[in-house]
């Protein structure tokens, strides 16, 4: 009861909601880059909110189904096909033993999620199936791998996400930022440089961090003794450029942080590729918590 990996793709890893409770040992949160697509994929299948999926970045991936089961593909449009026939994302789809699933190249967004009934049953590391290459916890999927699944159950074929929930990965992205950490150490003028410009996503961006290019913030505060960092923290390097820390980021660091990006905006950021433009705007803690709580409740109720 598996999916056999025929082509591994550029960067395809198993991820779940992440690894928690071990940050004091230096273990990153890890987990899916786009929580919106991930939660919808599991939701449509009636899975647990923590079930593991395959995160396919950019495409180039081919799998052979060795089981009859139901799947959902969510997130980026990477030209998903079953037996050479194009299929829609965001809906429950029955696959049969012997079917070939392919993802070619990015058409809209960069990360697609393959969810199967009950989630992939790959090896757990510290209570999570999430792979973190920086930490050498797990590895990319390899040609010949068997991605283990559970026996299939009846499913609601055709069940789809209502169209109004669909996000446009092409539209301009404004990241909502909480005034956290060393926000007060940045001067009025430095904040103006930060909020007043449109940044470009740099090439060196990955699951660890999104590096932004633009006008540098001048005379940034000095580096500090290392302290704990959270998902979405925005470090300002000595050269004055922002790095948004993502799921695979280290747990501590010493650059000053101008704020923290709201998590559901990071899900949108996960679908933007290098060269895309982003801006920042403020959000207050009450609004951020309300929005995130509503999101969580929607997928757990």
């Amino acid at each position: 009861m598996t999916f056999k990996v025929i082509k591994s793709g550029f960067y395809s890893t198993i991820q779940d909601s992440g690894r928690f409770g071990l940050a004091h040992h230096g273990l990153s949160q890890s987990g899916v880059a786009d929580e919106h697509a991930y939660c919808w994929a599991n939701h449509l299948l009636g899975n647990d909110v923590n079930d593991a999926v395959l995160e396919i970045t950019f495409g180039g991936c081919e799998l052979l189904a060795l089981i009859d089961t139901c799947i959902v593909v969510a997130g980026a449009d990477l030209g998903f096909k079953v037996n050479d026939k194009s299929q829609h994302n965001w809906q429950v789809f029955a696959v049969n033993k012997g079917d070939t699933l392919t993802w070619t190249t990015p058409k809209n967004g960069v990360r697609a999620y393959l969810a199967v009934q009950d989630g992939f049953q790959t090896e757990q590391h510290f209570n999570s199936r999430s792979v973190n290459l920086r930490e050498k916890v797990g590895s990319l999927i390899q040609v010949g791998d068997d991605l283990l699944t559970r026996p299939s159950k009846p499913c609601d074929t055709g069940k789809a996400m209502p169209a109004w929930f669909k996000l446009n990965y092409q539209e301009p992205l404004s990241l909502r930022l909480l005034a956290s950490y060393q926000f007060d150490m940045f001067t009025e003028q430095q904040r103006h440089t930060f909020f007043g410009q449109t940044y470009k996503i740099g090439k060196a961006s990955d699951r660890t961090g999104c590096r932004l290019e633009g006008l540098p913030i001048e005379n940034t505060p000095a580096t500090m003794v290392s302290e704990g960092m959270v998902y979405g923290s925005v470090e300002i390097t000595t050269a004055g450029f922002p790095i948004i820390l993502l799921k695979d980021a280290p747990t501590i660091g010493g650059y000053p942080k101008i704020g923290t990006v709201f998590s559901l905006d990071l899900a949108k950021l996960a679908q933007r590729q290098p060269g895309c433009e982003v801006r920042f705007e403020m959000i207050d803690i009450e609004t951020a918590q309300k929005l995130r709580r509503e999101f969580n409740q929607f997928f757990t109720s």
Partner: protein, 227 residues
């Protein structure tokens, strides 16, 4: 005294002081455990570091302001008790030599020390674990003797081999896995501190003490040391 700041939509950071010191490290270690005991049902992760502790919590059950109040109240009630972590002394064997200590030769010249003198200065102190991070089970140890302190390399190495023992200013550490890094490499432990052995994750805890034990080439090889 402490200062609580916002860190994220479900996170706060508590600053316990401005300057790191062994006393502050012990206090942070104590308060971290105390908060874990008193508010553990709300807490996802606590990351203690040199002067602070980062706490992430479950925003589905408690909001920011309520959580801050609960932390303040808990800390106000806490009475610091110096903990006896001496029983937790961890001994790490290290082979100090040019063939594994990539920066050793340069340091000896710069500091005008013989190899035995250097080994003595690095292996004699008992180091305190101030924080863990950078990579899993990477423990930041301090303080390194003034006579052998070296700043980070101007250009970090792309790959530092697992087991390498490094110095950066007053800190020293062992790299548990192959990783990039800018610390001055002075030796290597034959012990596997990587997550190949899951128990390694819990080998180091903030507040524990570490001592390096010099070993020779034969001992290094006998303990499984690689070149």
């Amino acid at each position: 005294m402490f200062d609580i700041k916002l860190a994220g939509e479900n996170a706060i950071i508590i600053y316990f002081g401005d300057e790191s010191s062994p006393e502050l490290a012990e206090q942070i270690s104590f308060y971290t455990e105390f908060l874990h005991d008193s508010l553990g049902h709300l807490i996802i992760d606590i990351v203690p570091s040199y002067t602070s502790a980062l706490i992430t919590y479950d925003l589905n059950v408690v909001d920011h302001q309520t959580f801050c109040n609960q932390v303040s109240e808990a800390l106000a009630k806490a009475i610091f008790v110096k903990q006896d972590h001496l029983s937790d002394l961890i001994e790490i064997p290290v082979y100090y030599d040019h063939e594994v200590g990539l920066d050793l030769e340069r340091i000896l010249v710069e500091k005008q020390l013989s190899l035995p003198e250097f080994i003595k200065l690095h292996s004699q102190p008992t180091y305190l674990i101030y924080t863990i991070g950078f990579s899993p089970a990477f423990a930041f140890l301090a303080e390194v003797d003034k006579r052998i302190r070296m700043p980070r390399l101007a250009t970090p190495r792309i790959q530092v081999p697992a087991g390498s023992v490094g110095i950066a200013d007053k800190q020293t550490a062992v790299y548990p896995i192959d990783s990039s890094g800018g610390w001055n490499i002075v030796g290597k432990t034959p012990i596997d501190l990587s997550l190949n052995d899951y128990d390694n994750l819990k080998r180091f805890m903030v507040g524990y003490r570490v001592k390096f034990k010099p070993i020779n080439r034969q001992e290094y090889i006998a303990l499984g040391g690689q070149f």
